[in-house]
């Protein structure tokens, strides 16, 4: 057998590129070409649904991520340490010289100088999410906003926004990679992380979203698109036609959901109901109402 067998051309769709990036990252770390970088995963004011979504990643999965891609230093949901022992790590990191990537999910609550959301305490001194976002945000080599709340406030900032929540950019004057979605698809986060580790920052659009995941309108690749083109519309949920007239936000939302799908590719929102625009800026207030039965009725 030849030492260099002829292989079929590599697929260039988004999923295959992301899978190849992840594989390449594994290989480079295994060969020692890449040093494992530190990752801090900070949960702020939100539902902690992005870390749960991250656990749904399959290739790479969570085990691979912490074994071969990064040293995960901090995660409120997953770390063994608790109390001051846990929070102190963040202060040590901020005071040290070690490089790290910061991923943040949840919004920054500004009300009462940040007291509406505490990350923890040192002694009896409260450590607010606001303080931590600023402290670590300045220091990190890269900052990733993970999910709707971190990107621009999301559900945590929905009106009347009693906690005065804002996206991370609202308190951090620096370049941030933005991964909108409620929650984020695990591939969007893990693929972005892999790109950062191997090749630096991925190409971003003018809203700082990686083009490899957020370049195309859902509507343009929707499997229900032929019904739209022929003017065949569902009047209620559960019908297999275009959902435009019951309020689908696919025509304004840019993600690769129609091709990548969710949860190991088994299904996606439009496979069940409408898209509610959870990866669009301004979600949820600017995307509501999510379901209507009368959008174009006279």
């Amino acid at each position: 057998m030849s030492e260099h067998p002829v292989l079929p051309p590599e697929s260039t769709d988004n999923e295959s590129v992301a899978a190849r990036l992840a594989r390449e990252a594994k290989r480079q770390v295994a060969q020692g070409n890449l040093k494992k970088k530190k990752l801090v995963y900070l949960e702020l004011n939100g539902c902690s649904g992005n870390i749960i979504s991250l656990l749904n990643g399959s290739n790479p999965d969570f085990e691979y991520m912490i074994t071969s891609m990064v040293d995960l230093l901090y995660s409120n949901s997953l770390m063994a340490a608790e109390g001051e022992q846990a929070v102190q790590r963040l202060f040590d990191l901020a005071a040290g010289d070690e490089e790290f990537i910061l991923a943040v999910e949840g919004a920054v609550a500004l009300k009462n100088n940040g007291m509406y959301h505490l990350v923890g305490k040192i002694g009896d001194r409260p450590v607010t999410g606001l303080e931590m976002a600023e402290l670590l945000g300045k220091k990190a080599t890269h900052v990733i906003s993970v999910g709707a709340c971190s990107v621009d406030g999301g559900p945590s900032a929905a009106r009347p926004n009693l906690s005065q929540s804002v996206g991370l950019q609202g308190v951090l004057d620096r370049h941030i990679i933005k991964l909108p979605g409620c929650p984020v698809n695990p591939d969007w986060f893990l693929g972005t992380l892999a790109h950062l580790l191997m090749f630096g920052e991925p190409k971003l659009d003018d809203m700082n979203r990686p083009l490899m995941f957020y370049s195309t309108l859902i509507h343009d690749r929707c499997p229900r698109r032929p019904f739209f083109d022929q003017g065949i519309f569902a009047e209620k949920l559960g019908e297999p036609y275009c959902l435009f007239k019951v309020g689908c936000r696919g025509p304004v939302t840019r993600t690769d959901c129609p091709t990548r799908k969710w949860n190991d590719h088994v299904n996606w929102p439009i496979g069940a109901s409408t898209c509610i625009g959870c990866a669009q800026f301004g979600f949820p207030d600017r995307m509501a109402p999510f379901i209507s039965y009368d959008t174009t009725k006279e």
Partner: protein, 469 residues
Amino acid sequence: MARKIIINPVTRISGFLELDVTVENGVVSEARTKGMMFRGFEQMMKGRKPFDAIYLTQRICGICSTAHSVGSSLALEDALNVTMEEQGRYLRDIIHGCEFLQNHIRHFYQYSVPDYVKMPPEHPLFTSYEGTARLPERENAAIVEHYFESLAISRLAHQLLALFGGKAPHNHGVYVGGYTTPATAVKIIEAKSMLQKIRNFIVDKMIPDTYTISRYYPELFQMGKGPGNLMSCGAFNGYEALGTLYTEPLVFNGKTNETSRFNADLIMENINYSWYQGKKTYKPFETMPEPDMEKEDAYTWVKAPRYDGMAVEVGPLARLWLSGDYRNGISAMDRTIARSLEAGKVVGIISTLLDQVVPDYMVQKEWELPSSAQGAGLVETTRGTLGHWMKIEDGVISFYQIITPSAWDYSASDENSLGTAEQAVMGTTITDPEQPVELGRILRSFDPCMSCATHVSSPGQETKTIQVF
């Protein structure tokens, strides 16, 4: 000597929680649990289109979002006077059941196991207290292996949820009338195949691992009892053709040892020690109290729901006790065992329901909104009893009240008693105040979800005793 111990954050839970205890002569003599975040979802719902509640209330919680889609759908069905068909209920309950599986597996392996097992020290994520894990090397290694193996299984439970629900977390499958898109024959058989793999893991690994841990930490059977009052509004019960597959709506009174029928009219909320102003005690439909951080004597914004005046425990142990499946005792370890056993029970329920699903059966209609109405939705979810109460005026939501399971288990004190978890921590013997590992074990046995119990604290004001740290 009295020493104060503050644990904040209590990690490996969903959301942010603080525990303050006073330890006298090695025993906990005062305890307070405090929610550490506030978003105000109830106020957020006002003025929105009623159907949006099904999607937006899911954002309360990333680990148990399906629960809120079910609670809000039930409240809407009540308000819209919609009677769900049995087919609607079957598939909805299947979707919801998958969340139980995802949640219980992750709570046991990712959240609880590091309290009992020495995790691989090469990962900074796992460094913690030293010398508090007791398992022999072989048993320890097996459970560590299952910690990582479980990731594929909890992922599979979410995959099964998404098969019918579109995606997880935050599904698009639960809606007024039951579900949005009908199942197909192909999906039903896919689901059965996935469920089989999940079942094998739970039966062969998760339940045995739970019992292994219980053997090496026998003192946990004597710790963390709490008030001993158990409540369920009924879980997977009252199907027309199937009857009750799990628990009837029942309440067990720990003082009198009597079990009575659950009555939703006996639910009250108290805000005496919570950061709210308004009527001190009220029924769910009565009033939405307004936030007030300056209130004296208050220490948490988790409110204090009470059933017939009692602080109660909700969740897997309460359900298994009330159904008669498990009555070994009420303690931190019994709670942990009950959660794993319940995962096995829910697999059986999903399997039974899957056999009833008729493929391609449409339940959706163009639902008509009344200009004014009100509705309540009570449902047993992963962590216990969840209630959504909604009022509609002029076609939009005018009032929304949510009482979550963790609001029951992590409630504030009222004039008569401490909250459930506070009572569970009281009297605990702390072996080493520098590494108070007992406290976290008790707290996590309830599987707290503070994203759900949602609320705020005003920290740093009340420390009067000596600081340990």
